[in-house]
């Protein structure tokens, strides 16, 4: 049985990918926040867009 969450005895790859990608986005966002003088809200908005785009790609794969 194959689905988004579960596939042949393991987590579905898109689901697994979204989890890993989300954590990496969070940590990358932290680095960007520390290294750039941009306002927090701008960074948050940019990271949200990047995260959403990545999730769309992962789900579409």
């Amino acid at each position: 049985m194959t689905s988004f969450f579960w596939s042949n005895g393991h987590l579905g790859w898109p689901f697994f990918g979204v989890l890993v990608y989300s954590v990496l986005c969070l940590l990358a966002g932290d680095i960007v926040w520390r290294l750039t003088p941009a306002p927090f809200r701008k960074i948050l908005a940019a990271m949200a867009i990047v995260w959403a785009a990545g999730v769309v790609v992962l789900v579409a794969l």
């Binding site: 005895g9 393991h10 987590l11 697994f16 989890l19 890993v20 954590v23 969070l26 940590l27 932290d30 680095i31 520390r34 290294l35």
Partner: protein, 229 residues
């Protein structure tokens, strides 16, 4: 099954990473520190916390205690005795007091501004003020001089003094040469352990070539140039 176990392992690893990150927040997690500049690697608030509990980050202490080689310029003139930011250059009674404020991230070894002979080392002053106008006279009761003034007799600039002043956080000043020792230009003079201010006292007739707000480096930045005016 193997795939599932690998996935779980990866997710557990990521959860641990996020957990450490969250526990450390807003300070950077250990894996992030190497990629950050010093001021971001050890934020001021975190350093002040360490001052309170005495548990300093080992990496910060190593960074703080660094003592790099310096190359004095060949041009004549007095050298800055410390790394830091010039905050004042007031003249009083014919003496210019060039105040250099050191931050937590500055190198804390002081250097001689000119070649000369150490004639006086005064381990304390009448006033116990730091560069920010705070009075630390209460520290007089402790075995910790909060101010040391090193007077140097130089052939080029007459009698100068370098005053090492600590802040509330600091307790120790080290002055390495003794009275009567000869100093080379840019030679290591001492160290303030977690101190904050170094004052160079120069006769007024020497024009300075630095200004308030300028960054200077011990043993490398010229603070005076040319002949006395």
């Amino acid at each position: 099954m193997t795939t599932f176990l690998v996935q779980v392992l990866v997710l557990v690893l990521l959860v641990v990473l996020v957990g450490i990150w969250a526990l450390r927040f807003p300070y950077p997690a250990f894996w992030l520190r190497p990629f950050l500049p010093a001021r971001k690697r050890w934020p001021e608030r975190e350093i002040r916390d360490w001052l309170g509990n005495g548990r300093f980050h080992r990496g910060f202490l190593k960074f703080f205690n660094r003592d790099p080689e310096r190359n004095p310029p060949s041009e004549p003139g007095l050298l800055a005795p410390a790394d830091g930011l010039i905050t004042s250059a007031e003249v009083r009674d014919g003496i210019r007091y060039l105040v250099i404020a050191l931050s937590f991230w500055d190198m804390h070894v002081q250097r001689s501004p000119a070649a000369g002979k150490v004639v006086v080392i005064e381990p304390s002053g009448d006033e116990y003020m730091d560069g920010e106008g705070r009075n630390f006279s209460f520290l007089r009761e402790k075995h910790c001089p909060v101010q040391t003034r090193v007077v140097i007799d130089t052939a080029s600039h007459g009698r100068l003094a370098v005053r090492l002043i600590t802040s509330v956080a600091a307790r120790r000043i080290e002055v390495w040469p003794g009275v009567g020792d000869m100093l080379a230009r840019g030679q290591r003079l001492g160290r303030i352990l977690l101190g904050s201010t170094v004052v160079l006292e120069i006769p007024e007739r020497f024009a300075i070539c630095v200004q308030t707000g300028q960054r200077v480096w011990a043993g490398e930045t010229l603070v005076t140039a040319g002949a006395p005016t």
